[in-house]
Symmetry: C2
Subunit: 311 residues, 2 copies
C-alpha cells in the first residue's frame, strides 16, 4: 500500500496559557491545529476542516499550507475565533479552565469539501458527537475512522455519543474518560466494555505514563518518551492522535503491526508537543528530528534479546 | 555464565490487611519473604537473612525451603515477629499504616552465615541504611549489590543513606522516593542526580505505570502487565526486586541486555503478586505460569516490525 490522504476535523483556537514558566497570550491552538501539525510531519496529504473568525491571521493558515496541509476546508466566519484560557499547576500535572469563549465555534457545522469526501483516513477531533456523525454522513467509506471525545459529552450527550461510537473504528481517549465512559475503574475491563459499544480498537492515553491499545490482536503498550524538560502539555493528546493517524495514512493500511508502530509516532509527537509552549516545538521540528526521536524511542524499548525463562 | 547464588536480606513479617475485598489477618509478609518467593521462581540458589520471633510457624520456613530457598540465615529470636497493619483505599491506589510493631525486627542486626559471604548477587531490602552497609562489610566482592530504601530513611538518615549509596551498584526505588531523594521532580533529572551519588544503575518503579531503568547504556522502560483483577498491592515492589535479582542471578551476568530482560521478570512477579492477597498467588504459581506470563508480556510490547519513518 502507499500513502493515503488524511482528513482531520476539529477546533482551531487561540489559547491563553498561564504556565509556571510565564504567561502566554494568543497562542495558536485547537485540536485540529495540533493534530495537523503532527500528522504533516509523517503524512503527505493532510486535509483540515475547521472554523476560524475574522480575527484569525491568514499567516497561520499559510504556515500550515507550507507544511503540506490542505486548508481549503477551514471556514472563515464572522466573529471571533474560539478562545481558551487555561492555568496549569506548578508540576503541570493538572490545569483549570479560566475562561472558554466558543465564539464562531459555537455554530460550527463541519462541511466536508467534495474533494475531501473520499479521504480514506479520518480523524474526528473532540466536538459534539452529533457533529462527528455528520462528518461521517458526508464521507464515503473511509478505511479508518478515529475519534476523540471528552467528559463533557460523556456526561451530557450519552445517546449521541453512543450513536457515534457505533460508527467509528478507533476511539482515542484518556484513562479517566475510559473509566467514566464505561463506569469501570479497571482499564482492561473498561476497554472490553467500550469495544463492545462499537469501536473495534481503543487507545487509552495515560499522559506521561504512555498509552495502551486494545484490539483483536490483544493489548499493546507504548511508553511516553522520557523528557528532561516539559514546558506545556497543551495539545499533547491531539498531537498524539495526529501522529497516529498520520503514520497510518502514510503507510496506507491498518494492520495490528502498523497500529503498533503508529503508537510510537503518536507518542513521539506528544513528546515534541510538550517540549514547547503551545505548538512552538512541533512547528520548529522537521523529519530529521522526528527520525532521531523515533530511533531513540526504539532504544528505550530495545531489550537486547528474547525473553526466555532461565533453565 | 551460569546460575549464581542470590542473597536476600530484609524483613519477615505478619501483615494484617484491610482490603476492599475483606479483612485478612496474620498474612505472611515482609520484603525478604516476597523477594525470596519471586526470586525462587527463576533462580536455583536463593539465600535469605532475616529475623522472626518465637510466634513464627516453622511451616512458613519449610514452605520456602520446599521452593529451594535456603533459610539457614533466618534468625529466630525471643519475642514476637514484626507486625504491620495496613488499610487500602477502595481503588487500592493508596494505603495507610494502622499499626506497626517492629518487635524482634527492632534489634535486627543481619549476620551473614559464612557460607553466604561470597554470594555474587545481593539484594538489600528496605532496612536501616547502616545495616545495609553492615551486610556489605560481611560480604566478599559481590558481582551486583542492589538495594531498596524508603522515605523514612531519606528524611531521617541522610548521612547513612549517602554512605550506603556509595557502596551499591543498583538502587531500586519508586518515583516518589526518587523525587524525595534527589529533590528534583523530573524523573530523568532525578535519575541523573541519584546516579551521581553512587549507584551506576537506578530503577524507578511506578506501580501500575511500569518502571524505568537508567544505566550507562541509556534509559529503558518496562510497562506493568495489564491485569483485570488486582486484589492486593502489598509486596509488589519486593516481588519486583526479587524477580529482577532472581533473573540476573540465574543468568549469572549483568549486562545492559540481561538488565533489560530482567525487568520483564521483575514486572511479571509484581503482576502475580497483586493478583492474590498477600503472597498467595506467588506461592501458588510455578514455572509454567511464569513462562506463560513472560510470553504474554512479550506480545504486549511486540510492535511487529521496525520503526521507520514512511517516505
Amino acid at each position: 500500500m502507499s500513502t493515503q490522504p488524511l482528513l482531520i476535523v476539529g477546533s482551531i483556537a487561540f489559547d491563553d496559557l498561564d504556565m509556571p514558566s510565564g504567561q502566554y497570550r494568543d497562542v495558536l491552538g485547537g485540536a485540529a491545529t495540533y493534530s495537523a501539525l503532527a500528522a504533516s510531519l509523517v503524512a503527505r496529504s493532510v486535509r483540515v476542516v475547521g472554523i476560524v473568525g475574522d480575527d484569525f491571521p491568514e499567516q497561520h493558515l499559510a504556515d500550515l499550507r507550507a507544511r503540506g496541509v490542505d486548508t481549503a476546508g477551514v471556514e472563515r466566519a464572522k466573529g471571533r475565533t474560539f478562545r481558551w484560557h487555561g492555568r496549569y499547576s506548578a508540576d503541570l500535572a493538572s490545569r483549570q479552565s479560566i475562561d472558554t469563549q466558543l465564539n464562531v465555534f459555537a455554530d460550527f457545522s463541519p462541511k466536508i469539501p467534495p474533494a475531501y469526501a473520499s479521504s480514506p483516513f479520518v480523524l474526528l477531533g473532540n466536538i459534539h458527537p452529533r457533529l462527528q456523525v455528520d462528518v461521517l454522513e458526508q464521507a464515503s467509506k473511509p478505511t479508518l475512522v478515529a475519534a476523540d471525545t471528552m467528559n463533557f459529552w460523556i456526561e451530557r450527550e450519552p445517546a449521541a455519543l453512543a450513536a457515534m461510537l457505533e460508527r467509528i473504528d478507533l476511539l482515542v481517549i484518556n484513562d479517566e474518560e475510559a473509566r467514566q465512559l464505561s463506569g469501570v475503574h479497571n482499564l482492561v475491563r473498561a476497554a472490553a466494555d467500550i469495544r463492545r459499544r462499537g469501536p473495534k480498537m481503543l487507545i487509552v492515553k495515560r499522559g506521561e505514563f504512555g498509552a495502551l491499545l486494545f484490539d483483536d490482536a490483544g493489548t499493546f503498550f507504548v511508553p511516553a518518551y522520557p523528557l528532561e524538560d516539559v514546558l506545556d502539555p497543551t495539545g499533547a493528546g491531539d498531537s498524539f492522535a495526529g501522529g497516529l493517524l498520520g503514520y497510518l495514512a502514510a503507510r496506507g493500511e491498518v494492520t495490528p503491526a502498523t497500529m503498533r508502530q503508529a503508537l510510537f509516532f503518536a507518542a513521539a509527537m506528544g513528546s515534541f508537543c510538550v517540549e514547547g509552549i503551545g505548538p512552538a516545538r512541533l512547528q520548529a521540528i522537521g523529519r530529521p528530528e522526528l527520525a532521531a526521536r523515533i530511533a531513540s524511542f526504539a532504544r528505550l524499548v530495545d531489550r537486547g534479546g528474547e525473553l526466555v525463562l532461565p533453565g
